[in-house]
């Protein structure tokens, strides 16, 4: 195209020279100007950026990572480039998950695994990320299309499926276990799982997989009335799992009884979802790159701009068997953990020596656990920090409903029962 335009300019020039009548020259000059405009448009048009081998800290406008590497120069992050080694799985590519995926992509994350079974529709356009021309594409494919344009360095894997079904769950677990991206990594094939789904069922499925795999994950959510949200860090055995206690929600302060639900399932706002995605990815970066304090739970009430925090210990009576196994392992590993912590603190004490790095900053080093967070047992509801409420009740031990018949327990034949139901159905 560029070559052809150049030839056209040459042709116009020779035409101008060969014309005996100078009255046509003005219109030829006009034509030439238009061709020149086209040439510059062509030059500035879409061009895919090439992959880069190493993250450079060089401050030039062609370096996509210069501002991120500056975090390292400023001493916020010790080794930013490590981000390229990390794999993050994002479950649910909706209003929160898609934005989280874009943020991690722009940060130069090594690999993203994307899970969703939905398609993009026009009703999603009040949220960020997806574009109207992507309507009817699967969310995972549309996300890969956009993300690979933004940053071709990121390895993207998309899984179009529902993780709550038996088959979907198996595929989910085996994809998390795949270590081909970094074969010598300990544990699973991913460093963190982010749950960005919009329902309890899918969260419980992520919880199940992560408990079984001993996989650290973060949960995120936006309330159905679109005005509050939360993020939560879950480390199997160490913190409460998602099934240890009924899920917490940030109270919006609106009286449930005044909330009109007729004719709608859920509301959504790009702002609340964007804020929650930002909080989630910030916590992810702190967790992966080891800087600042990783929040165990952070709520967001947008009506009052209130951010409750707290941490939750696991429930020794959790209904999830894998959670109990992880809790046991965590207790068994306590002496080793204490010894490692002691050794680390001694090593750091040796390093601090002649002149402390931040002599004027006495609160940057905390030896004792003084996070200032409300710590609580997963089961207790009365000690919940202000502004947090349980979304669901606990399972009753006693029978809530009066029942006319005794519970079903006898050992009948399954085939026989199937036939009985079929007989009723015909």
């Amino acid at each position: 195209m560029e070559v052809e335009l150049k030839e056209m300019l040459n042709d116009l020039e020779s035409l101008k020279q060969s014309l005996p009548d100078p009255s046509h020259r003005a219109s030829i000059d006009k034509l030439r100007l238009r061709v020149e405009q086209l040439t510059s448009l062509e030059k500035s048009g879409p061009a895919r950026r090439l992959k880069v081998k190493d993250m450079s800290a060089e401050v030039v406008d062609s370096n996509p990572y210069s501002r991120l590497m500056a975090l390292q120069r400023m001493g916020i992050v010790e080794n930013y480039e490590r981000i390229r080694e990390f794999s993050v799985a994002i479950v649910g590519i909706g209003g929160v998950g898609s934005v989280a995926a874009e943020m991690l992509t722009r940060c130069g994350i090594g690999r993203l695994l994307l899970y969703d079974y939905d398609k993009v529709e026009l009703a999603n356009m009040n949220r960020l990320f997806f574009r109207p021309e992507q309507v009817n594409m699967t969310k995972t494919d549309a996300a890969v299309q956009t993300l690979s344009d933004i940053n071709p360095d990121v390895v993207l894997e998309s899984y179009t499926m529902n993780i709550t079904t038996v088959q979907g769950f198996e595929t989910f677990v085996s994809s998390l276990k795949n270590k081909s991206f970094r074969p010598n990594k300990e544990g699973s094939g991913v460093d963190l799982v982010l749950s960005c789904v919009d329902n309890y069922e899918a969260r419980m499925a992520v919880n199940q997989a992560c408990n079984e795999m001993n996989q650290t994950w973060m949960e995120s959510g936006v309330s159905e009335d679109a005005v509050s949200g939360h993020i939560q860090l879950l480390i199997p055995g160490e913190t409460a799992c998602f099934a240890c206690a009924p899920p917490l929600v940030v109270a919006s302060g609106i009286d449930e009884r005044t909330l009109k639900r007729e004719g709608v399932c859920a509301a959504s706002l790009p702002t609340t979802m964007g804020v929650v995605a930002g909080l989630l990815v910030q916590n992810t970066l702190k967790f992966l790159l080891n800087f600042g304090q990783v929040s165990p739970y952070l709520g967001y009430n947008s009506l009052k701009d209130y951010f409750p925090t707290m941490e939750m210990k696991p429930n020794p009576q959790c209904s999830n068997v894998a959670c109990l196994e992880r809790q046991q392992e965590y207790i068994v590993a306590k002496p080793a953990r204490d010894a490692a912590l002691k050794a680390k603190m001694e090593a750091e004490a040796l390093l601090v020596p002649e002149f402390p790095l931040h002599a004027d900053n006495e609160w940057s080093i905390s030896v004792v656990d003084d996070s200032g967070l409300d710590s609580m047992d997963a089961t207790s509801s009365d000690t919940l920090p202000e502004g947090l409420v349980r979304e669901l009740p606990s399972a009753d031990k006693s029978q809530e409903l009066p029942t006319s018949e005794a519970p079903l327990t006898s050992n009948d034949d399954l085939e026989d029962l199937r036939r009985q139901l079929e007989a009723l159905n015909s």
Partner: protein, 174 residues
């Protein structure tokens, strides 16, 4: 049981409760649970028939009993409206209820998530959570689908979003 109509309440209390807490990945315990599911569904279907309130057909469409398909119907202004019904038993069942789908109504009502999953009332999930593992498929149909059909089908018919099948054929014939 706040927020439920007396009819749903009294029907619910007559559906046999289940005891085994097992999901589709739990091997022999799941088989035991499946037997309880069948018994509970058989009792509920029999009860509906004897009360002249038969309103669904459901059966497992795979040997593992993790996928269920069938039909449900609702009578409005003396006309019967029938729909395909399907759902999967989630891996975290019975901690989480099955998500009931009416694929033919996908996109026709706000009270539905993608894929035709019905949007349950705020009362359903708390009651299900409270009664885990005693509630099964029959309870989900009674507490989830029946009130949904009663609330949404009249609106869908009156607004013209769905047509009776006889209407549809007669209008194409003439």
């Amino acid at each position: 049981m706040e927020g439920w109509d007396p009819n749903t309440k009294s029907t619910l209390t007559q559906i046999p409760l289940l005891t085994t807490k097992a999901g589709p990945r739990d091997g022999a315990a799941w088989t035991q649970r499946l037997k309880e599911e069948y018994k509970s569904l058989i009792a509920y279907t029999q009860m509906n028939k004897s009360n002249d309130n038969d309103w669904f057909r459901i059966s497992a469409s795979n040997p593992e009993g993790t996928r269920w398909t069938g039909k449900c119907w609702y009578v409005h202004n003396l006309l019967k409206y029938e729909f395909d019904l399907q759902f999967d038993i989630p891996v975290t069942y019975p901690s989480t209820a099955p998500e009931l789908e009416l694929p033919q109504l996908d996109g026709k009502t706000q009270k539905m998530y993608r894929g035709g999953k019905i949007c349950l009332t705020v009362h359903f999930k708390p009651l299900w959570a409270k009664n885990c593992p005693r509630f099964g498929i029959a309870h989900a149909l009674c507490l989830g689908l029946a009130p949904w059909l009663a609330a949404e089908i009249p609106i869908l018919v009156d607004s013209g979003m769905i047509k009776h099948k006889d209407d549809a054929t007669s209008s194409t014939e003439t």
